[in-house]
Structures are given as structure tokens and as C-alpha cells.
């Protein structure tokens, strides 16, 4: 169970996250939706203790991330940007992380097989394609067999097969009773994966509901999302042609 209470983060004068409160429950895939720049990644970074909040708290099983006894065994995280050194092999990257949390080294080979990187495990990760880098990030998230998964835009760069694979993986992890919190800006993807959704815009909570309930508000989930976020989209293309 993840609990955010009054979570606030400012970068200079911009409030990236503004008094955000929500719970993420185990046993379900919870989608975290919002337009570009709405504060999804910042919220994830606050959850992981990478950034300090200016106000409020976020706890995981009642504790702050930095107070977790074996962080990777409790929380697995995939952030949107690459988090590995280009000169290190996939295997070495995972072996280092495993060592930090006393995770047996056989898990490294297991997760490499699980994400389909076993044949590329000794190659330098700097040569990886976007999709392979994403798979390595997922392997790191799964390494400690954690009860909670935080995935920021996990389908980025994946091929269709990979997209389906991760969709099935998230569902099966949730079915095992794990907490799966996944951010995306792809509404159609979330419609197929998530049962619950938390929608933010401009750093504020816009909705915290089931996918079914949100979709029922309009003609489709996408329409409902666009109506909900219309007042808060940070970056929007100018509409062309006759208005």
C-alpha cells in the first residue's frame, strides 16, 4: 500500500506536484495518468526518495522509502530515463544492484531471462536500443521480487510483442496480490491494463476512480480523460484549421 498525503514539490516557482493525496492498493494495476508535464515522473521520484517533497509525505507500507530495510526487495522501480552506465554490461549492472540488497546472484540470470535479455547480458548496455534499455530497467525492477512495482511509462520503446508482454506481466503481478502503479500518457494502453486510475493535471489530483467509472463519464475513456484534463494540460499543440 502506497499512501501520498498532501504531497507538494516546487521547482523554482513552478509547483510540479501540488497537495497530492491518494492511496495505491495491492492486488490491482493502478494507472497513473496525466498530460505531459503534469507531475507524474516527479511524483514517482518523490515516492522513491530521489527528490525531497516541499510538503506532505509519501509512504510505502507505512514507511518512507529511505527507511526501507531492503528497498529492492520491497519496491521495484522503472523510471522513464535510463539509469545504467553505458560502459557496463546488463549483467554487471544488475549484479551490483543485487549485491546492495543481498539478493542472490541467480536472480540476475532469472530476470535477464524473464525480460528476454539473456543473450545480450554481457554486451555493454550503451549499445542497447531504447527497447532493450527499457527491458534492462524492468529487469532491475523485478530483481528483488518486490511486492510493490512503480513503473514510469514502461511501454516506451517496446515493440508490440514487448507491449503485450508487459501488459500481461503487470496483470499477473497484480493477480498475485502485488501493488502495481504504472504511469502512462497512453489512454488506450491503460484501458487494457489498469483497473483503477489516478488522474493528475498541473500537479493536482483530478480523479481517483475505477477505469469503468471514468470511461462511463463520456463516450470513451479517452474522451473522459481529455475532458478531465482540458483545463490543466501544460503543453498543447495549437489547433489548426477552422475552429
Amino acid at each position: 500500500m502506497i499512501k501520498a498525503r498532501g504531497l507538494t514539490k516546487r521547482y523554482g516557482t513552478v509547483k510540479a506536484v501540488d497537495a497530492l493525496s491518494f492511496d495505491v492498493r495491492p492486488g490491482a494495476v493502478t494507472g497513473f495518468l496525466g498530460p505531459n508535464g503534469s507531475g507524474k515522473t516527479t511524483t514517482m521520484r518523490l515516492m522513491l526518495g530521489l527528490d525531497r517533497p516541499d510538503g506532505g509525505t509519501v509512504t510505502i507500507g507505512g514507511r518512507r522509502y529511505r527507511d526501507l530495510a531492503w528497498p529492492l526487495r520491497e519496491v521495484g522501480a522503472l523510471l522513464d530515463a535510463r539509469a545504467f552506465h553505458p560502459g557496463r554490461s546488463a549483467r554487471a549492472h544488475l549484479a551490483a544492484l543485487a549485491a546492495a540488497n543481498s539478493i542472490p546472484s541467480r536472480r540476475v540470470d532469472e530476470v535477464l531471462r524473464q525480460v528476454g535479455l539473456d543473450t545480450a547480458r554481457d554486451r555493454r548496455a550503451g549499445k542497447f536500443s531504447l527497447g532493450m534499455g527499457q527491458r534492462l530497467g524492468l529487469a532491475a525492477a523485478l530483481l528483488g521480487d518486490p511486492g510493490i512495482l512503480l513503473l514510469d511509462e514502461p511501454v516506451n520503446g517496446l515493440d508490440p510483442e514487448g507491449v503485450r508482454w508487459i501488459r500481461d506481466l503487470m496483470k499477473s503481478l497484480a493477480a498475485e496480490g502485488r501493488t502495481v502503479f504504472v504511469s502512462s500518457h497512453l489512454i488506450s494502453e491503460m484501458a487494457q491494463t489498469a483497473e483503477h486510475v489516478i488522474v493528475i493535471g498541473g500537479g493536482r489530483l483530478l480523479a481517483d476512480t475505477t477505469v469503468g467509472e471514468l470511461a462511463a463519464r463520456s463516450a470513451s475513456l479517452e474522451d473522459a480523460f481529455l475532458e478531465l484534463t482540458s483545463g490543466s494540460a501544460e503543453f498543447r499543440a495549437a489547433h489548426r484549421g477552422p475552429a
Partner: protein, 280 residues
């Protein structure tokens, strides 16, 4: 190359129950193991360390080979390669920290070990141990190799002579201490070019300038400490043909060593303080 087949969908590789409960919590030993794996799995680490050792020993040998003055401080001559060598470990120290930021590895590192002061302590211990071993090996090999290279009937110094063992052993610490200075600067500055600039500027350029303008301040500069305080066997002040009867005072070996420790410790403490407070 995403052609690699994904694993069997929906089959976590581990038993479906969450991992077996482990007692206690992660600590220094675990984080140090992570840092050791990270350090040794980069090829650039080994290249840099090899060039450093070969270069510093080679310089000592070249100087020994060309020594004609048997009355000079032969131990100090043999250790002359340590001064350029420590620049490499200093830069390697910077990169050990800034490389985490430029590659984004810092995010993975901090999710595995979110206690940041512990992280920097473990990183410093691992990096310090590796560079200390390299530095001591380089200093002793330089000493013996330079002694063996002496010609013109000059007898090689031995470790049993007064102050020699101390000079060699203390010089061996310089790789580690300047390496840790680099690591601390990397933690403070976080950008590779800027941190390397500050390191090289501070250790070499600034030291030369300060030394040229003011001798009393110059003796506190790290390369003059390595070159003249800790690597010398002389106990009195230096008089030579260049400076006539004028007597040049340098810091005593142990005072110099203490200063180098301070140069390593202060940036590490500031870096640790900043690391714990800043967003990663």
C-alpha cells in the same frame, strides 16, 4: 535489437510469494559490495589504473637511470612519478561520482541504497582501498626499479636507511588521498568537466601559482606536499646549488600527510552533506 524473445508472459521467475523475509537491513557491507562491482565492471577503471601505475614507475626508472649525483635524495627521485600519477586517480575519483549522474546510474544506485551518506562512505572506502593498494604498489615498485636503474656506480638506497621506508609508504597514500579528493569534488559538483577542471586547476595550476607567489602558502599545496614533504628522506631544510645558502622549509612528512588527509576529508564531508540534501 529487440528481437530477443520476451520471457514467458506472466510468469515471474521467482516463487509467486514475495521474497523470503530477510532479517536486519542493508548496510555498509552490502553497499560496499555494490560499489566494488560497479568499479571493477568498467573497463576504464582498469585502463586508468594501469596507465597510472606504469607511468609513475616508468618516470621513477627514467630519473634513476639518468641520476649522476649520488648525494641527491635518491628516494625522492625514485618517487617522482607519483606526482603525475595522482592526477589520474584524482580524475578517476571524480568520474566514479560524476559518471553516476551523467549516465543516470545514480537513480538505480539510490533506489538500491537510499541512505546517501552510507552510500558515499561505502563508495569512498572501496575506491580508497583500491587506489591505496595501487599507490603503495606503485611507490614500492618505483623505489626498487629506480634503484635498480641507477648507473655511474651509485648505490641504490635501501628501505632500512633513515626515513626511506616512511617516505615510500607515505608517498603510496597519495593516489588514494587525491583520488578521494576527486571523489568528494565529484559529489559536490556532479558534472564531469567542471569537477575535473576544479581538480586539475586546484591541484596543479593553483598550486603552481601559489607556490610561485608565496612560498609560505605554497608548502600547503598538495603536489608540493607529495613532492617535497612526504616523499623526502631529508630531515633538515633543503639547501642546494640553486638556492645557495637559503634554506627552504617544507612541511614535515607527517604534517604533510595530515594536510593531504584534510584535503581528502573536507570535500567528502561537504559532498556527503550535499548528497543527503539535494534532489538526485
Amino acid at each position: 535489437m529487440t528481437s530477443a524473445a520476451p520471457g514467458i508472459p506472466g510468469t515471474p521467475a521467482a516463487p509467486s510469494a514475495p521474497a523470503e523475509r530477510l532479517r536486519g537491513h542493508y548496510g555498509f557491507a552490502q553497499v560496499a559490495r555494490m560499489e566494488w562491482i560497479k568499479l571493477r565492471t568498467l573497463r576504464s577503471t582498469w585502463w586508468t589504473l594501469a596507465i597510472t601505475a606504469v607511468g609513475s614507475v616508468g618516470m621513477g626508472v627514467a630519473i634513476g637511470f639518468n641520476t649522476r649525483n649520488a648525494a641527491g635524495d635518491l628516494t625522492n627521485n625514485a618517487l617522482a612519478g607519483m606526482v603525475p600519477g595522482l592526477l589520474f586517480t584524482g580524475v578517476l575519483g571524480v568520474l566514479a561520482m560524476t559518471g553516476e549522474y551523467t549516465s543516470g546510474t545514480i537513480r538505480a544506485t539510490l533506489t538500491a541504497a537510499p541512505r546517501r551518506v552510507l552510500l558515499l562512505a561505502a563508495k569512498s572506502a572501496v575506491f580508497g582501498a583500491v587506489t591505496l593498494a595501487l599507490g603503495e604498489a606503485s611507490a614500492f615498485v618505483s623505489f626498487f626499479a629506480a634503484g635498480a636503474a641507477l648507473r655511474h656506480g651509485i648505490a641504490a638506497p635501501t628501505l632500512g636507511q633513515p626515513g626511506v621506508l616512511q617516505a615510500v609508504a607515505l608517498s603510496g597514500t597519495s593516489f588514494c588521498l587525491i583520488g578521494l579528493l576527486g571523489l568528494g569534488l565529484g559529489a559536490i559538483i556532479r558534472h564531469s568537466p567542471a569537477a575535473i577542471g576544479v581538480l586539475v586547476g586546484g591541484v596543479y595550476v593553483l598550486a603552481q601559482m601559489v607556490g610561485a607567489f608565496s612560498h609560505s602558502a605554497g608548502i600547503y599545496m598538495p603536489i608540493l606536499i607529495v613532492g617535497n614533504s612526504i616523499s623526502t628522506t631529508r630531515t633538515e631544510c633543503v639547501t642546494g646549488p640553486g638556492n645557495g645558502a637559503q634554506c627552504i622549509h617544507f612541511l614535515s612528512p607527517w604534517t604533510g600527510f595530515g594536510m593531504l588527509c584534510l584535503y581528502a576529508a573536507v570535500p567528502l564531508v561537504i559532498g556527503g552533506w550535499l548528497l543527503a540534501r539535494r534532489d538526485a
